[in-house]
Point group: C2
Chain length 429, copies 2
């Protein structure tokens, strides 16, 4: 047994000597993560969801001609010659009048508010400031109107049958308002990916339950569970199952197999290294396809990916900072694509000058945490190797140094991914 | 009655002739919208919430010295002289051994995985690729180690008592992971603003219920309700009450008064113009403070704001596009501030060249929808006046032309606020 483990270990070490590039991993993901099928949701629950199909207007908006300002609806031809020195007097009719349509020559006007349907026969609205009510049920018009003045024509905003929003659009608040104005109550959106989480080697660790117990300082608390649940929530994913198992290859195999029928995506956390008790890759290879294992990425290099049936399986390192970036670059990308979202990293991207040299190892895509200096420069801070996830809490964002680069010289322009939460409080323009 | 309404109408028309600037409205808001009190939430529910107080580490992370790589923990002094041509043989002890501490001179090594606590007495880890297990319970070390090699010291990531996150930080996924690793289960965050919505003049309009009825094409569907509920959800607000009333001043007064004790913020939608049936401002003035009514903003100029007791009251125009921007610039700003968030517009801001002249009226802050042309230019599209909310669905974003400007010349650099949902699908860099 010891000999077998040794051989295996050596095999894995060799495999890691030929790590896949981040680019090839990305290509593998993109070829296997088209947007999922659709589901109908209430429009009011659709904020942030992605349209599965184009939406066309089911009616004209506005549905009828209407006043676009508060004022007096009348026949424009009757106001010819009106002016401050030639006020023309109109009888005020209420909209609710049974007096019939406004007709040219009748000298009648209807008081309307912006948005009111135009009274039958009227073709213009004279705004309040071009009219003076002097009592006695009459109004003096002191400015001439022409037909269609302050009238919003039916269908002016959108015409029945016209496309409103394209498939693939992530629905914003204004979109919801626009769709609601066409009477739409439901929208057909890309369904959320169903995700299963498998935590390897946490079978003995009690979940932090929030019940108020003081944190114990002599144990290792699981960071990956809370981290990943927050990440997948951000990316629009539903966690269908979340289980803790021991490190054995059979246990991992069983956990993956049990979830593959239900899940669109399975994240196996931990057991991805080339240690003798790292069995995640072998377990996936036993029952499915292990496509890539070992990637030229720091942190996150022991990540892997493959498939079992229709489910994509991602192997995420157990070290939290490695788990974070293996998620962001690989699993998160797949989730965002399955959900029809923008595949790119959901961070704010800005260019800054490097205040100091940013160093990276050639041959590895390296994630370098940086801090803002003033408004236009960044400097590297404590690395993820040195501070784990606390490198992220100390930094304002990170730079991704590509595989072929040794880093950036002082003064070079670098693209910085800002933590969403660090873009506030006017730190960023 | 008609005469009284006339006098009132005239009064309002004059008031609107002296509109407040967007800047003065902003100052009024900022002086009255400090972050609310705090509440305790489960860390796992804290994504996007804003910390009410600084968080300091309650323990060292890591809590003990641990291996930072898979390999063999041993005494570094025992490896002096080790090399490929001088392999030094160590007895392998399991971590679970009862053999006691590793001691210098004993020739023992313990197989460890990254993250394992260092065995007592060991002070370095020799990584897998500097060791060869040859069976028989021994390992050959082929590279010398020095003390602390591949050992992560307790407290290396963060030390007990050290500040982790500052008050005011909007909590991101990596933050949740970092906090969880210190055993934290709950976080003290700024509580969500409690909001009440009052829809004026919608008492006869049936809410779109999503029950599957085909939309009726001859009625006006309420866009403001769905629009505002999406906007306040985006801004982290809880809707405590949502009611539809008629346009009468007494009805508006009662609705505001009924909600002022419970709400941090009340949005009164509709009835804000200077028409004879626009009573929202008068109703607020009757029972509370009407601070501003009529703002030099297009769309959204008939907005108003004031207070009743501790509640901020915003009067939003009933025209959906006006409602949208009166919310974004005023009510939304207050909500974001009350919730401790970044007050600024939650859009992505980028600079582009104007491909065509962008025209605005001097004396008004004007919101001009624009569309991307290629990767570096924008052009104005159908205005909110012409297309209502559909101007937003047709545009990629908008430009805010300040009050003192007549717009931007062709070729000028303009700051564009991009709809979040339009930043995807690689339209934006």
């Amino acid at each position: 047994m010891a000999a077998a483990m040794t051989a295996e270990t050596a095999g894995r070490a060799r495999a890691f000597a030929e790590r896949s590039s981040v680019e090839s991993a990305t290509l593998w993901i993109d070829a296997r993560s088209a947007a999922l099928g659709s589901e109908d949701v209430l429009l009011e629950s659709a904020l942030g969801r992605v349209l599965a199909a184009e939406i066309v207007a089911s009616m004209d908006v506005p549905p009828c001609d209407r006043a676009s300002t508060d004022g007096y609806a009348l026949c424009a031809t009757e106001t010819v010659g009106a002016g401050a020195y030639n006020p023309l007097i109109f009888q005020i009719a209420e909209t609710s009048d049974a007096a019939g349509p406004i007709a040219a020559g009748a000298g009648r006007a209807v008081r309307v508010a912006a948005g009111d349907a135009m009274p039958e026969g009227a073709d213009a609205v004279v705004p309040m400031d071009a009219a003076q009510e002097t009592g006695g049920g009459v109004v003096a018009i002191i400015d001439a109107a022409t037909a269609a003045d302050h009238v919003e024509r039916h269908g002016a905003h959108v015409k029945r049958g016209a496309p409103i929003l394209a498939a693939g659009r992530q629905i914003g608040a204004a979109d919801i308002g626009a769709l609601a104005s066409t009477g739409l109550a439901r929208a057909c959106v890309v369904r959320r990916p169903r995700l299963c989480l498998v935590h390897v080697g946490l079978d003995g660790v009690t979940a932090t339950d929030g019940a108020g117990a003081a944190p114990s300082s002599d144990v290792v608390h699981d960071a990956n569970g809370p981290l990943l649940r927050a990440l997948v929530a951000r990316d629009g994913c539903t966690v269908a199952d979340d289980r803790r198992i021991d490190r054995r290859r059979t246990a991992i195999r069983e956990a993956i197999a049990a979830q593959a029928t239900d899940a669109d995506i399975i994240l196996v956390v931990g057991g991805t290294g080339f240690g003798s008790n790292d069995e995640a890759a072998a377990a996936l290879g036993d029952i499915g396809e292990l496509a890539l294992h070992g990637i030229a990425l720091r942190p996150g290099g022991s990540a892997g990916m493959g498939r079992l049936g229709a489910a994509l399986v991602f192997l995420l390192p157990g070290t939290p900072s490695s788990c974070l970036f293996a998620y962001e670059l690989f699993a998160g990308r797949a989730i965002r694509r399955l959900g029809g979202r923008d595949a790119r990293l959901p961070y704010k991207l800005r260019s800054f000058a490097a205040a100091r040299k940013i160093v990276s190892s050639i041959g590895f895509t390296q994630i370098c945490p940086v801090r803002l200096l003033g408004s236009d420069r960044v400097e590297p801070v404590t690395s993820f190797d040195e501070a784990g996830l606390f490198a992220a809490t100390k930094a304002d964002g990170f730079v991704i140094v590509p595989e072929g680069s040794e880093g950036f010289a002082q003064g070079a322009t670098v693209d910085v991914y800002f933590h969403e939460d660090q873009c506030q409080k006017s730190k960023l323009p």
